[in-house]
Amino acid sequence: MSGQMGLEFVQNFPCFSIMLCMFAGIVSSAFKEKIARVLNVAVLTVNIILSASVFLFTVRAGEAYVYVMGRFPAPWGNELRIGVLEAGLALFFCIIMLFCLLGGRHKLVQEVEEGKQGLYYVLTDLMLSSLLALIYTNDLFTAYVFVEINTISACGLIMIRQNGRTIEAAVRYMIMSLLGSGLFLVGICMLYDLTGHLLMSNIQAEIAQIVAEGAYRPPLLVTIAIISVGLAIKSALFPFHAWLPDAYGYSTVSSAAVLSSLVSKGYIFLLFKIIYRVIGFEVFHDSKIVNMLFIFGLMGMVFGSLSAIKENDVRRMIAFSSVAQIGYIYMGVGMGTQVGMVAAVFHVLSHAATKSLLFISAIGLTDVSGGSRKFIELTGSGYRNKCAGVAFSVGSLSMVGVPMFSGFISKLLFAQAAVQNEGKMLPILIVLGISTILNAIYFMKTVIRIYTPVDDVEYPTVSWGENKIYAAVLLCFVALNVFLGICSQPIVDLIESGLRMFA
């Protein structure tokens, strides 16, 4: 029993990139902080190259391929499955992660105890490996193992800046996240009991048969509900978002950016995968759980924004805005149509690119306001750090949905999907409108605040040359945002073809 013959060398790259991250994490735990940092940047760069070549390969091949991890083919062994969507998302995650870490590096040095900075890079390496494994895997249990790695390393990323608030946030995150993992595990156990498989494609075949026979209806429904709720807790969908503001608001800035833009997206992508490849799109749609996700998503869009408006702390405001944006994604899932899914996937990209930009640029603004995050202190900070001011404005405009930026395209896609959906058109359009206005209220309030001139400036002015890496990262983020906003059509086409390969 050997694997499939005649693989091209490029097809090995997904396996290489997962293992490379793990090796980097393991090896850098033995070395000093500096080596760990260099190794981390090197691994991320190599991973970008590897993922880009896999992405090009899959686009050219036009179909997904299966990579057997070992001598035994699935269902006996483990396997990866790589299509356009997977490879593209892996590439995107690696890029965002590199930017987040580079952009928050100067804060990391200030905020984390000296001997423990090396461990930060160990955590991020393993975090990336788990994200890649979640993206590529075709096996539910492998997914669970890497969800565990993801959870533990996310806790570490939150609490590595040690003050009371982060410890509290990490404990809260851990409890909620473990609850989510637990529900997910119970769901996997039930699926195994019903189908006898852990491999995604085999489970789907068995479930199709079960549904056709009409057997096991109640446990199947409960299983779908449990898995959806478990992953919704981990990705902070509205009623389960209590852990989010502290975790994003008080941790060191790279952690906040990585958690908001990548970790929650990893779980959402796993949910997409489960919808398409485990449960089956039709079965999932017929189960009515989809309507619950839809309602929670709509509520999140409104209530997340309302909490953000009430907030007087800029970091926590951005964090609450994440709740609203996650609500958008779940609304797209909840529409139950292919177009809605495309919009949701695009919003995953758009939100990841924008939210990390906002977190990283906000840190530049608070730094020139004496480290305070209160709005009153931030007045005029856009003049004191021009680079961060511009970047923050771009991020805000994108979040509000101004044309030219990525947020506009995702709102447009959601609206288009809504028009094609008869039953849910009205609620979607109304909530989309309300949410956009609420977004505009709190983001424009901040932008106006940072560009209000003050007479007696007591804080220093920072020019962009003082921290060149930071300025370059902000520039890259802005470029990425504008790129997603302008060249959206090819990306949407790729997402569509990716979703076709996905199923």
């Binding site: 013959m5 290489f16 793990m22 393991i26 006996w76 483990n78 096996d139 806790c155 609490m159 409960v222």
Partner: protein, 320 residues
């Protein structure tokens, strides 16, 4: 009472010592052993008062339960709802289980080609007599590599939480290590002297026979880790550090994981590309057999033992 020996002679015999010990007249340890009764921890009065004041402030300012009736009401409501929710969830899950296929039924969906191939040809294909080990370390080697990394990253997180980096604090922690218990407990040391080598050997046996009998890297590593914890608590960290300090810990952990990773990646890539695998399976039942399982078990064992001991040391004094 007639006696063959005089009182003085009798006092020298073993029987006298035995009966004296039995009746509890003399404790052999008194005077020969450093004794220190356990002290109850008594905090400083000011710090206790500070803490009480803080918690009072929290209750007054944040919750203000006295004046905010709604909050009080909400907290009661919240508690009741939480209990109801838990009961409902438990009921729902139990109800769901009752719908699942009955356990042990031959026609269950999980009695399929996957399980049958593991059982029927597991020994031939993996070389392991213990099918469970063959399954987790050969068929699903990737999962187990992830699982080992879970342990690794858990140690990293505990280090972030508890590792003491400051040199002054570190010295203090080492000094305080035996604040609450006596040094050199003769009973503990005597027992540890006998037990620790046996535990180590047993742990090594479990690891090396992982592919032949129940056991493997995870259970054997845990056994060795327990032995090391026993040794450290009996003979203090100073003696443990003679053979296991932070440097050796790092070398052992990193090399074990790296070797596992290298074997893993060799196995995945050769398997996926259909290249011939040069690791021989050996004869099932022999100690050196079962291909990649044997070295992987050793690596997992080292990693698990290191993790167990590191947890203990970190929780006890914030460093290895």
């Amino acid at each position: 009472m007639s006696r063959m020996k005089s009182e003085e002679e009798y006092r020298k015999t073993k029987a006298f010592h035995f009966f004296r010990w039995l009746s509890g007249e003399k404790d052999p340890y008194i005077g020969n052993l450093e004794m220190k009764p356990q002290e109850e921890y008594i905090g400083e009065e000011t710090s206790i008062r500070d803490r009480m004041r803080e918690s009072q402030t929290v209750m007054d300012k944040v919750y203000n339960t006295k004046h905010n009736r709604w909050l009080l009401l909400f907290r009661r409501f919240y508690r009741i709802m939480a209990v109801i929710f838990c009961i409902l969830l438990a009921g729902l899950l139990l109800l769901t289980v009752s719908y699942l296929p009955p356990t042990g039924n031959a026609s269950n969906p999980d009695n399929n080609e996957v399980a049958s191939r593991y059982i029927e040809s597991g020994m031939q294909e993996t070389g392991a007599v213990n099918i469970v080990t063959g399954m987790i370390l050969t068929y699903r080697a990737f999962d187990t590599f992830g699982e080992t990394n879970v342990l690794f990253i858990a140690t990293c997180c505990v280090m972030i939480m508890l590792m003491v980096e400051d040199a002054e604090l570190k010295k203090q922690e080492v000094m305080n290590d035996r604040r609450f218990e006596p040094k050199n407990d003769a009973i503990l040391q005597g027992t540890a002297m006998i037990l620790v080598p046996i535990i180590f050997i047993f742990g090594i046996y479990i690891i090396l026979n992982g592919h032949l009998s129940p056991g493997g890297g995870f259970s054997g590593g845990a056994t060795i880790g327990a032995g090391m914890i026993l040794y450290a608590s009996a003979f203090s960290f100073k003696k443990t550090q003679r053979f296991f300090d932070e440097k050796i810990y790092k070398i052992a952990k990193v090399s074990a994981l790296c070797v596992y990773g290298l074997i893993g990646i060799y196995y995945y890539v050769t398997g996926a590309n259909g290249i011939e695998n040069h690791i021989p399976l050996g004869i099932p039942g022999h100690i050196v057999s079962a291909g990649i399982i044997f070295p992987i078990n050793i690596c997992v064992g080292i990693e698990v033992a290191c993790t167990m001991y590191a947890f203990y040391a970190l929780f006890r004094r914030g460093g290895l």
